[in-house]
Structures are given as C-alpha cells and as structure tokens.
C-alpha cells in the first residue's frame, strides 16, 4: 500500500474540497426540499449512480437484453393489429393499423413501465432510505431516467421501421423532444407522487397496475382520438398521454394536421400533474424514514 502511494504522480490534481459547510437540521414545514437546487447538485454523483444502477440491472442476466424495449411494443402491436385492426376494423386515421398502433405503443410502454416501477421504487429501496440521507426524489427519478434509455432504443427502432416502410418523417419530427418531455413529466409526476403515498399506504401496489390498465383505455392507443366529437376531443387531452400519442403519430408518421391544441392542453396538464406529484412528495419526504 505504501509503495502504491509512493509511485503515484505527485502532480495529481487534488479534488477541490469546499470549506466545511454548516447545515442546520430542524423540523421543516412547507415545500422546498425536492426543488432545492443546491441540495440536488450536491448529491449529483449519487443521482448518477442510482440512475446507472437502474439502467444496468434492468436487463442483467436476460438473453434479449435491451431488445425487450422494442419486443414488448412489437408484440402488442401484432395482437392489436389482428384484433382491433383486422377483426374489429377500428378506424386508424387512414394509416396502416400496425403503424398507427406502434407509434402509440412506443411512448405508452415507456410511460406505463416508468409509472409502475417508479411508484414502487421508494418501498423497494427502503434499506437505503432508512440508513442514508440523500434527496429521495433521486429514487423515482432514477427509475424514470432508466426508462428513458429504453425509450430511446425503441424510438430509434420505430424510426428505422418507419423509414423502411417508405415514410419520410416530416419536419414535425423536431417536436419529439417536447412530446417526450410531456411523457417524462407525466410519468415522474404520477410515479413520484404515488411512490410517496406508497410509503405510508401499501394499497398503491394494487392501485397502480389497475390504474394503468384503465389509463390505457382512456388513451387513444388502439383507437384514434379523432373518433371523439369536438369539445370532448380537446378536453380528452387533459390526460397528458393523449397529446403525447397523437403528437407522436403526427410527428413520426406525418399523419394529418398538427394537433397543437391537444399538445398544448396535455403539456399544461402534465405540468400540473408534475407540480402536484412533486409537491406531495416534498411534503411527506421528511417522514419517509419514520414510516417506511
């Protein structure tokens, strides 16, 4: 060991050690824990490690690995095309049904997985939470971030499939980051909020899978949103996934006119959901270790 130290280059860059900072620990009330930027920045390395862990363990010891990210939406697409497209003959805005459903399934699968896993994440990490301090939001946020990796893979493959099919995605494809942001905000808002409720009420474990299924049917995945008549069509975008999915069909497949009304309503709804979820998380975060 001493040898090891001796041969180290002496000119090594020293880590900057900030002067010790005094932190006052006391009962807090109100908001301002989750959204304390300095605190989040201080723990950025831990945030990165938690996200990296969630990405790494996702497909460890699976043969197909990250291919699962696209196999799942593809499998659903096949079944839906057969049942809803062929047998039920559901109207698909003039698109081939398989493309119509695949473009919706890619963002939906991201959302559903991120929502489900993040709502359970705090309870899954109770050993950490009861022994170490760090901003707890990193736990559900790490799960959502890990989901984004899958999302990126499946989106890439979706684009390849679309290109092979001969569709050249329109310029509208540049709105994808916005649509993705809405999906992330929705997953994080709902996931973080429910993960916090889950700490105290384990009922959440039963509610989420069931809520996800209901949510699936109120979202235009197997059907087109245009099936709804007007005030309802725009109002339905209060469900943020409506804007995301109709937006995806438009941005990736170049279908129809820009659904800016839907995207706008959905963005606002996602922002409200995120605010509510994080506010609740923030309010109960201080008692996680006492309750978990």
């Amino acid at each position: 060991m001493s040898q090891q130290t001796a041969i180290k280059p002496t000119a090594e860059v020293e880590l900057e050690t900030p002067p010790p900072e005094t932190i006052r620990l006391e009962a807090t009330s109100g908001f301002g824990r989750v959204l304390a930027p300095r605190e989040l920045w201080r723990f950025r390395d831990l945030a990165f490690q938690i996200a990296a862990r969630d990405v790494t363990i996702r497909y460890r010891q699976t043969s197909f690995g990250a291919a699962w990210a696209i196999l799942q939406p593809l499998a659903f697409m096949a079944v839906f095309t057969l049942i809803f497209g062929r047998f039920a003959g559901i109207e698909s805005d003039g698109l081939p049904y398989w493309l119509f459903s695949l473009a919706a399934l890619v963002p939906w699968m991201f959302f559903a997985n991120a929502f489900l896993l993040s709502s359970e994440s705090l309870v899954m990490n109770q050993a950490l939470i009861s022994k170490i301090y760090f901003p707890r939001i990193f736990i559900p946020a790490g799960v959502v971030a890990a989901g984004c990796v899958d999302f990126a893979i499946s989106m890439l493959i979706l684009l390849v499939i679309v290109l092979i099919d001969g569709i050249v995605p329109p310029i509208a494809i540049l709105t994808l980051p916005l649509l993705i942001a809405i999906a992330v905000m929705t997953a994080l808002g709902a996931g973080a909020g429910l993960s916090a409720i889950n700490v105290r009420y384990r009922d959440v474990r039963y509610v989420v899978p069931f809520a996800t299924q209901l949510w699936f049917f109120i979202t235009p995945i197997v059907y087109a949103n245009s099936a709804l008549s007007e005030p309802l069509r725009t109002l339905s975008a209060i469900n943020p996934m409506v804007g995301v999915i109709e937006g995806f069909r438009w941005a990736v497949l170049g279908n129809g006119s820009a659904p800016w009304d839907l995207i706008g309503v959905s963005f606002a709804a996602a922002a409200v959901l995120l605010f509510i979820g994080l506010s609740y998380f923030d309010r109960v975060e201080r008692s996680f270790a006492d309750l978990i």
Binding site: P20, T22, E26, D45, L46, Y133, R200
Partner: protein, 417 residues
C-alpha cells in the same frame, strides 16, 4: 482547532403510535378524515387520541472538531434515533442541530450493494451512497481494489461472492471514505465480527486523523478505548455528559438499577416487534447449595432462564461481564456439544451449567440474547448480577478481590525447592 463540529439545542424526536402508525391503510385515513370533517361540522372537533412516544427529548450538547464521543445508554434510550437525526435520515420534531462538515456513516454490510451489479459497479455505487464524489472514487479505485484484494472478481456480480468477500469489498470502500464527521452504530454493523473489528480499527484511525467521531456501542471497553468523552442517554434525555469514565460509571449504575426490576416488564430490550418469546427470569445458583445470586469460585454454578414461550429452534447466548462492563466470556448454545440436552418436557426453561466457575471474587453481570426460529426473540442487558465468593479451584485458593484480571485457570507450578 476548537471549532464546533456538532451543536444540538433542545433536540427532540417523537413518533406517533396508534393512528397512522407505520402501515395504516388508506381506508383508515379516508374514514378518519371523513370523521374529523363531520366532527367539525357538528361542532365537536375532538382530536383523535394520538399516542406520542418521545424517542429523544430536549437534548443539547456541543461536540468540538476532532473529538471522539461515545453514546451510551439502554436499548431504547435514543442512541440510534440521535444518529438518525445527525445523519439527516430523520428530521427532528423539536430543536435543531448544526452540523459542520461532511458526515459519513459506517453501515451494515451490503446496504449499498446491489447483488446483480459487479464488484466494480458496486464500488462506485456504494462509494456514492457513503457520500464519496465520483472523481474521488475513481482516484482511489485501485487502492480500494487492492485493499480488498479481489482484482480477479471485479467483473463478477456480487451475488456470486461469498459473504466474506462481500464484507471485504464493503469494508474496502468504507475504509477509503474520509468524512469530517463519522457516525458509527455498532448495533447496525452487527452480523459480522470481522467487519466489526475492522470498523473499530478504522474508527480509531479516523479519530487520530482529526475527524470527529460519534460512536454508539454496548461494548463499554471499546467506548473507553476510543472515546475521551461520553454522553449517557436515558429515556431520550441526556443524563450525563462527561469524561468517558464518569459516564460509563453512571451507565453501569443505571444498569444495575434496571436489573432489580421485573425482567418481563422491562422495556429496554432487543428483539423484534414480532417476537414470540421473552425472558421472564434469569438467576444464577450455586451448583451445590442452590442458593441464588451468590456463587463460590471454583464450585459448580448454574444459570436458570425462564422464558414466556417455547419457540422452535430456541437458542440462548449469555455474556458475562465484569464490574467495569467489560465482557469476559460468552456462553452460546448454538455452538452445541453432544453433552447438551434438548428435552421437550422441560417447559419454558433453559439451564446452563458450569462445572467449575473460573471467576475471581467480585461482582458480575449477565447479558442475554434469546433466539428462536432463527430470529432474535429477546435481548436484555444486565438481566442479572451475581457475586462470586472466594473459593478454591483445583485445590488452590483464588486471588482475592482487587487482583488483576477476572478469571483464574486451573494450573500447577514447578518451582526450585
């Protein structure tokens, strides 16, 4: 260097029992909210009965930078709660603490490990969890791996490691942590004796290097060896904050007071919420005279334990400590011998016999740990005290009270005539 590392002022922590306790159901909360609203409308806004337990109450102290402080007290006195508050895991209910500098904790092995990740990945994850910066871990990575001596297994998932290897790796990471304030709860780090020993060495090192150390342990000998000052907690309050000898004496006296209480009603016990069996009585008898609590050195002795319930796979471990609170020996039924007897007809009673008690005259204490179904059922410090009278061992008189050491061995001499 007399800067203050930790300053606590009126620190308190309460837990609500009853309503909303741990796993309340959503249904209860909803119906409760409804009941309260109705109550308010009707004009009888009576608050539901909430049982509040103060784990810590009005605790104030100051710790200078570089001090090593022992935190002692019965089970349930608030030691672990204090560490939770200082490490920010839990938030105080009243008062405040000001902490200056980076806080690190030595944790139970594996807390920060993920079994599916490789050794290499776990070093980074665990380091980050303990509060190390990524650049810092990268810089020390080779040192850590060399320290743990497991270059070959770095890319193997940790789930394939033996428990010894996991301990080695976990400790290697912890040993390279350089906190300004180190919090150690020995109770949390149990499970592996080797890890515990290493933790103590690390702590002494950290203390010598000028860091502040707060150490929670039942082992008074280690507290005395490592700390200059100790804080004695009783029922959540500071009873003594003094040089370590004084605080330890106060603790020993408090233990002896507790021992005279009825064992079954004592609340300062280890054990889990789901415990099935408790220690009801523990007494030491002279093997020959059957007289309680006074035994003669060199003669037979028997320790009789009565428990409330017989549980499958019952095991019992007794630690005998001297008057300074230093452990002398542990008698553990799990390390079984063919001479042991398991009798289904003996009822809720455990007996441990010593053929010839090799203790010099003095006052001794017994701590007990009861296991069953491979869980800790119950644990009590100072379950009993007993006095050893001067006796004869192998035909040789024993040293008298005040002699060095605690034990005497049967032996013979050869001397010039």
């Amino acid at each position: 260097m007399t800067e203050i590392a930790i300053k606590a002022e009126g620190l308190g922590k309460n837990y609500q029992l009853g309503l909303n306790a741990a796993y309340g159901s959503l249904r209860e909360a909803v119906s409760e909210a409804g009941r309260r609203t109705v109550g308010r409308l009707v004009g009888r806004g009576e608050k539901p009965e909430i049982d509040v337990l103060w784990a810590l109450k009005d605790v104030s102290f100051e710790i200078q930078q570089g001090e090593a402080i022992g935190l002692i007290g019965h089970n349930g006195a608030g030691k672990s709660t204090m560490l939770k508050l200082l490490s920010r895991i839990a938030e105080p209910s009243t008062g405040y603490a000001e902490v200056t500098g980076r806080v690190g904790s030595l944790l139970e092995v594996g807390t920060g490990f993920h079994p599916e990740l490789t050794g290499r990945e776990n070093v980074f994850l665990n380091g980050a969890i303990l509060g190390m910066r990524r650049a810092e871990i990268r810089k020390r990575f080779d040192e850590i791996v060399e320290f743990a001596n497991m270059e070959r297994f770095l890319d193997t998932p940790v789930k394939r490691y033996s428990s010894g290897m996991q301990v080695r790796l976990a400790f290697a990471v912890a040993a390279h942590l350089e906190p300004e304030i180190l919090l150690v709860d020995e109770v949390l780090a149990v499970g592996d004796a080797a890890f515990q020993r290493k933790s103590l060495t690390k702590m002494a090192e950290v203390a010598r290097a000028g860091s502040t150390v707060i150490f929670v342990s039942h082992n008074l000998a280690t507290i005395q060896a490592l700390c200059e000052r100790a804080i004695l907690l009783e029922r959540g309050s500071v009873v003594t904050d003094a040089p370590v000898e004084e605080a330890v004496t106060g603790y020993l006296r408090a233990l002896e007071r507790a021992a005279s209480d009825d064992l079954e009603t004592r609340t300062d016990r280890d054990g889990r919420a789901w415990e099935e069996s408790k220690v009801k009585r523990l007494a030491v008898y002279d093997g020959d005279s059957d007289e309680a609590d006074v035994v003669v050195g060199g003669r037979g002795a028997k320790i009789v334990i009565e428990v409330t319930e017989v549980v499958p796979m019952m095991e019992c471990s007794l630690t005998i400590l001297n008057s300074l609170g230093h452990p002398i020996t542990t008698l553990d039924s799990e390390l079984s011998s063919s001479a042991d007897i398991r009798d289904s007809g003996s009822g809720p009673r455990i007996e441990c016999r010593v053929d010839s008690l090799p203790l010099i005259p003095g006052r001794y204490r017994i701590d007990i740990l009861l296991r069953g179904r491979q869980e800790i059922q119950d644990g009590l410090q100072a379950a009993a005290y007993f006095d050893v009278e001067p006796g004869v061992i192998d035909g040789r008189p024993m040293p008298s009270i005040g002699a060095d050491g605690d034990v005497v061995l049967p032996h013979t001499w050869q001397l010039p005539a």
